[in-house]
């Protein structure tokens, strides 16, 4: 695991992933025809930018990445058919895309935590996974409230 030889390197990696998330949601926003949905997606991007900021602060000051408590995994998105982004996508589509994306990020950090030996790094990856789980939960809660109200 040379790539992740230090806490800093891990944080750099995580910061890059968050930037990718910002770019991803901005890209989605650009595709959407519906102006209000575009705004919602831009807001998703801003939230990701906030996550990135948090990690930069943690890296600069050597602070601990905060993430407390257990995060429930509602698995709302897990069983849904993946959707393709496009101009006609709906809020439901966008939330499915987001849930799936956050789940992938969560799984990635969980997997990394499992393969690093260093206990500091393990703790950091676990925390990052939990962070992503929190983001996923936000989208899941929204999906469940808006699209599973009768289900």
């Amino acid at each position: 695991m040379e790539k992740f030889e230090s806490v800093e390197a891990v944080l750099d990696f995580a910061i890059e992933r968050e930037q990718e998330a910002v770019d991803f949601y901005e890209g989605l926003a650009e595709q959407a025809d519906n102006a209000a949905l575009e705004k919602t997606l831009t807001a998703f991007a801003r939230v990701e930018a906030g996550h990135k900021q948090k990690l930069i602060v943690a890296k600069t000051y050597g602070a601990v990445v905060e993430s407390r408590g257990t995060v429930v995994d509602m698995k709302v998105g897990d069983y849904l058919v993946p959707v393709q982004a496009g101009p006609n996508m709906t809020l439901q589509d966008a939330l499915i895309i987001a849930m799936k994306r956050e789940k992938a990020a969560m799984d990635m950090y969980t997997d990394l935590a499992a393969i690093v030996d260093d206990s500091d790094l393990n703790a950091l990856f676990t925390k990052l996974a939990r962070e992503e789980a929190t983001h996923k939960l936000t989208f899941e809660t929204s999906y469940e409230e808006n699209f599973l109200s009768e289900n």
């Binding site: 025809d33 705004k39 429930v72 897990d78 809020l91 439901q92 699209f147």
Partner: protein, 696 residues
């Protein structure tokens, strides 16, 4: 007589010597509120709402008792004066106890006059009852069958035992007209030479057309379907709402003058641009027509369809074949309707699969019970994961769910139980998990991120000024009465728009309320004897489960009269004349600005003709002065002082001194509803109330 000159609201004005500011301002066309001032009584200057500003004087002065002086500079409507009036009214309202309109009426989104129509039924005046309804709401017989009854939730009668069967009584009024072959036509104003295109013949579009026509505006209603009703025809099954009821009520709108063009789809046969060119305004009542998919793998397999697709097909052909074994996914009303319909189409086994617990099902409890009585099975805490073809049949894999710990909002969310998958093999799967709006056929309108049309809540006006919208396509899938109310509001707004007036919809006046059920003084229900709600007669589960015959058979005359007689007639006899209510509306007064105790509820019913409601008395002293000065019978007086002052003695003792013929005038003099005649009905909307206000 020599005239004095003075300045009134920045303009030169004249007054006679000795004339009060109030009279001079009134003569100049300015409105000044007052409770206690009467031309035939001596000035009393007690209520202070008539206060005005006289430059050079530190405090405001009562205009009813201040005479105009030469060169005086008077302001009767600046911010300071308005603020003082509002404060004065806020104070009066802060301890006032009463309901201007019954809580049922204020909870009805369409604002129909409930105590009014119910009381007509109690008296056997069914036609008058229906007339009162249709002037304020179309589709009485439809809504009387399917409305979710927000009014009954607020009904005061619950404090005695159970709410009044408001909705079923409304249905009774509509059914009586059919049974007696009577036609009740809504009122209609003369034509104004404008025409509006209404797209969508669902409840919102029909309501918009109904009121536009009443306003004298021509309407053409376009709908993609071959018949009117929207989701109340293609969603709600006929055993809950027979189609002839819809047809009959649409015929009333047609008779009012609507032209219907069916099989005409916006975005395909006509465009929004065309309509805007051809008509003076457009109303879009497109509904939420797109089923939300489950988004599970296998959803596209033949034999799997959405609840609204299934119900729509059955609505067109009630002999459609269906398999023996059917799963319906969902827990809302659409799911229940689909399940009960599947039984009626011949399915032997119908199972509802719902991901939460029964208590969380959004469907009405009565509807769930009715479905279970008919034999529908319930599989709660299970969610579909995938669907696969299994020979001629479908295999649905579900996962069991459990409710998690309550989250920050206190809700227990369903969570899948790892490894708990199980399968069910069936012939058909109906997914009834919600609907979305698709408004892409109306380009140019701003949408919300849900894809629904972004329209003003009060007026329905969209981002394009001559295009209005309402109902499910604005709110997302909702209930019929809200769609009707939205159509009504939009019709008001469109009328204003076409007449070049400010577009405000149908603004409601101030309404004072005793509050939520637990805030109502105990004496109010205590005056009534217990007498349970009359149950709605219905077919037995065994009789009905296999046919589309209407399940609820309707009240007989006898039952309807008995049920209507239970109404407590909440609301104030004076609501349409009350000065307190009028001024509170004008000055945007509020009851909750100053906290503190409310008055005690004290109703003096001792007199044969008059009622005195101390909790509504504002101590303006008018009645005392009428007795003293006009009736020359000092039989009423104040006991106590200031806020504690009360009119005394009890009416039966006081009134023996006055001749009966003078009594009505005493009630008329009271500016609020504290002194009223027992014979007056409680606050009702006059028939054609809104048309009258328009003619003002």
């Amino acid at each position: 007589m020599s005239k004095l000159t003075f300045t009134l609201n920045g303009k030169p004005a004249e007054a006679s010597a000795g004339e009060t500011i109030l009279d001079a301002a009134k003569a100049a066309g300015f409105f000044i509120p007052t409770f206690c001032h009467r031309e035939d009584l001596k000035p009393f200057a007690s209520c202070f709402v008539c206060a005005v500003e006289v430059e050079g004087r530190r405090s405001l002065v009562p205009s009813c008792s201040t005479e105009v002086a030469e060169g005086m500079v008077v302001n009767t409507e600046n911010e300071r004066v308005k603020g003082a009036r509002k404060t004065c009214l806020d104070l009066l309202l802060s301890d006032h106890v009463g309901d201007c309109l019954g809580p049922c009426m204020t909870s009805c989104p369409a604002g129909i006059d409930i105590p009014g129509f119910v009381s007509h039924i109690a008296k056997g005046e069914d036609q008058e009852s229906l007339k009162l309804i249709v002037d304020n709401m179309p589709l009485a017989g439809c809504l009387g069958r399917v409305c979710t009854r927000p009014c009954e939730e607020a009904c005061r009668r619950q404090l005695v035992e159970e709410p009044i069967a408001i909705c079923q009584l409304k249905r009774f009024a509509a059914d009586q007209a059919i049974a007696n072959g009577e036609e009740v036509e809504p009122a209609k104003l003369p034509g104004i030479g404008k025409k509006v295109a209404v797209v969508g013949a669902g409840p919102s579009g029909l309501a918009a057309a109904h009121f536009l026509l009443m306003f004298g505006i021509d309407c053409t209603v376009f709908d993609a379907h071959e018949a009117p009703g929207g989701m109340i025809r293609y969603g709600i099954p006929s055993y809950r709402l027979p189609r002839d009821i819809i047809d009959g009520e649409v015929a009333v709108i047609e008779k009012l003058g609507a032209e219907f063009k069916y099989n005409t789809r916006l975005g395909q046969d006509i465009t929004l641009e065309q309509l805007r060119e051809e008509y003076d305004a457009v109303f879009l009542g497109l509904g939420a027509q797109k089923a939300s998919g489950m988004r599970t793998p296998g959803e596209d397999l033949p034999g799997v369809e959405s609840g609204i697709e299934f119900l729509g097909k059955v609505s067109r052909d009630e002999t459609l074949p269906i398999g023996n074994n059917v799963i319906v996914v969902g827990g809302g009303n659409t799911a229940i309707d689909a399940a009960r319909t599947a039984l009626r189409m011949g399915a032997d086994e119908v199972t509802l699969v719902y991901r939460r617990a029964r208590e969380q099902m959004p469907a009405w409890a009565e509807e769930i019970d009715a479905a279970l009585d008919e034999g529908v099975k319930l599989q709660t805490l299970a969610a579909p994961v995938k669907i696969e073809q299994a020979g001629d049949q479908l295999e649905m894999t579900c996962i069991r769910m459990e409710l998690g710990e309550p989250d920050a909002s206190g809700r227990r969310r369903p969570m899948p139980v790892e490894g708990s998958e199980f399968t069910m093999t069936v012939d058909n799967i109906i997914a009834a998990i919600g609907q979305n709006v698709d408004a892409t056929m109306a380009p140019g309108l701003e949408l919300t991120s849900w894809g629904s049309i972004d329209a003003n809540e009060q007026t329905g006006q969209t981002s394009v000024e001559d295009v209005f919208s309402g109902g499910d396509c604005v709110t997302g899938a909702d209930i019929a009465v809200n769609a009707v109310a939205a159509g009504r509001r939009a019709a008001f707004a469109i009328n204003q728009f076409l007449q070049g007036e400010a577009v405000v919809g149908d603004p409601k006046g101030y309404n004072h309320s005793m509050g939520a059920l637990d805030e109502v003084p105990a004496d109010v229900p205590a005056a009534f004897e217990k007498n349970n709600r009359v149950p709605m007669p219905h077919l037995d589960a065994g009789q009905r489960a296999k046919t589309f015959e209407e399940v609820e058979t309707g009240f007989t005359e006898e039952l309807a009269r008995a049920e209507a007689a239970r109404c407590m007639e909440c609301g104030c006899r004076d609501a349409h004349e009350c000065s307190l209510r009028d001024f509170a509306t004008r000055y945007d007064a509020r009851a909750d600005r100053f906290g503190g105790d409310r008055r005690e509820y004290r109703r003096d019913d001792s007199h044969a003709v008059l009622v005195y409601e101390e909790h509504k008395c504002i101590q303006c002293g008018t009645c005392v002065r009428v007795c003293d000065e006009l009736l020359k019978s000092p039989c009423l007086g104040f006991a106590g002082r200031g806020f504690e002052a009360r009119i005394k003695p009890a009416l039966d003792r006081a009134m023996v001194l006055i001749g009966d013929e003078d009594l009505p005038s005493l009630a008329e003099y009271c500016p609020v509803g504290a002194l009223t005649l027992k014979t007056d009905p409680v606050a009702t909307l006059e028939p054609e109330a809104f048309l009258n206000t328009k003619e003002d």
